[in-house]
Symmetry: D2
Subunit: 195 residues, 4 copies
């Protein structure tokens, strides 16, 4: 962003921590009007249900669902547009990992985030705040996946992973929507991804 | 389109008629490569279920669901992207008309079209054909609604109807998506519309 | 039924034909009070979308969706409980036939029937008429399947097909529900069936 | 249960506490074979989203979603059938409370529980363990509601609240289902309840 002539500032903390979430908003408002809030959590587990650790189950809920709720709630009072990103299939039982169609069934923490986003949209839309939820139903062509699973890109074939720029472009398109034509939910996946 | 320097040609017929659907595709291929197919049906009835005419029930299915199927199927063999538009709440029982949340429940012909579009997307996506389904969950600011319900615009308030241009822009954004980042389904409605 | 000491009478016709649907109701009312109406259609096609015949697409809609609508509508005025049965995955693209999870996506004619049943339930429930929709997501252990696919029972393993008696018992349980505790939708499948 | 000639024993604890959940299962296995596990959580909040307390948001998740997960997971290894009950509309924004149709949108903790139950069913079904999820979409005619909202029964009219016995009967019917005919999800509500 700086290379493109803009300015950027990082504030670190845990979006699932109430005071950190408030601090993120306060830091932004020192710089000017808060216009866009994104919550994009990405951890997942592919363990079988019977082996899933209670601590992991809670961690995933904190990161995805509680983090999305607090990030959105703390931005209240600011003229904001909040978008929650849904990344792919954590905590699906491992033996279903090959059955891509099961991604239709979001894991508990994403199902909870989606319900949170719908409640937010119904309450905040008529107040002029746009709440959107993006379902990312595939692998993302970014450092995390590529370093953890070096063979994935070959396995998926050409244009088989979702580029980070495409996610950013989609957020921007939603942000640019005039208020007479808002989208609440949309999905993103490559052409070759089964669902 | 002609005013903007492009050329346009209208071919009329009934998309729910197998030979007309084939004729639409043939007429296009005479002009060059078929790149985009849109199916946008809009009729609706708001009668109570007990009063709904069987002929109307069938007409709605023909226009929305069969028309979407045939338009998409006839474009096979062409390198095409097909998008089906879902307009708002036909054949919902009249006494639920005030309960906007019921729009969550599409009428039978739209539920059938949505299932058709999902089947098409699963089969055609891996062949490189993008199939998208847009849920339009509101009134459209166009001649049909404005002449049939002159008071609707005032009743809905500022930016309370969906502009036709916003629908066109959305189709175009989907058409421009690179194949590593396709959307299958998204919704559109004004900020003030309850859902 | 006669062997069990009851009496039964068959009236044949096409539930998707308006006058036949009315005739079914009239024939029943000659015998007494109409208490329960079942609509249980079962045809399916497993063709790929690109190969699906328009006539088959229409036939499936007539049998499942229009037939469910007319059977329910013609029973209006009678104190009835109507239940629509949803049988398994017709017209799913053939190459997805092995991916059972796709059954989550009902074919167009069943999606349309489900939306019809929900509209009926919302309108007729407060009038004291119970409308239920049963999703049958598996093979049925009956003459039709067993003669068409003789090896299916072995392939599915022990108790891997749904017994006809279990379907009948379920309809009866729904019919016996007191009006303070009605079910609108439920699914049925064997333990070993993936979904 | 004792009055009916059976024997019953209460073990108290918190199902969202890992060691308590394990203790519940151990106490049962001292008595014999564990045949049925029920998880039925009922707390709710009707606050507007902007006013919802983070501690309440977490408490609801612990009670409904984490409790359902742990209760089910700790029963692993036992021949069990687990059923999760979904009670009505907590944490919906207060100003939507009148719009009953919004119950279609479960609150985050119930959406998470439903996704948990679906994952459990897919993993445990083929192991012979029946997992069911019951959506209770109405007020329950029990001490908690009747003492907190004394006027509710009159307001709802005759048979307008769900009797506790009907819930128990439904659990029992699911428990009695043979393994060739299992239900994973069903809903319960009175005839006059809008949805």
């Amino acid at each position: 962003m700086r290379a493109a002539g803009g300015s950027a500032q990082a504030v670190t903390g845990d979006g699932a921590n109430e005071s950190d979430a408030a601090r993120f908003v306060a830091a932004t408002e020192e710089q000017g009007l808060l216009e866009l809030v994104l919550h994009n959590a990405g951890s997942n587990r592919r363990d079988a249900f019977l082996e899933l650790d209670a601590g992991d189950f809670e961690m995933l809920w904190r990161e995805h669902c509680l983090g999305g709720f607090l990030t959105g709630r703390e931005a209240r009072g600011a003229w904001c547009r909040g978008a929650g990103a849904q990344s792919f299939s954590p905590v699906q039982p491992a033996h279903y990992a090959e059955v891509r169609a099961l991604r239709l069934l979001p894991p508990p923490e994403k199902a909870g985030l989606r319900a949170t986003a719908q409640s937010m949209a119904r309450e905040l839309g008529p107040k002029g705040i746009h709440v959107a939820h993006i379902v990312i139903d595939c692998g993302i062509e970014g450092g995390r996946l590529l370093s953890a699973f070096p063979g994935r890109q070959n396995q998926k074939g050409p244009e088989g992973l979702l580029p980070i720029e495409a996610i950013a472009d989609t957020y921007w398109q939603l942000h640019e929507q005039q208020r007479s034509a808002w989208t609440h939910e949309m999905d993103l996946r490559p052409w070759s991804e089964r669902f």
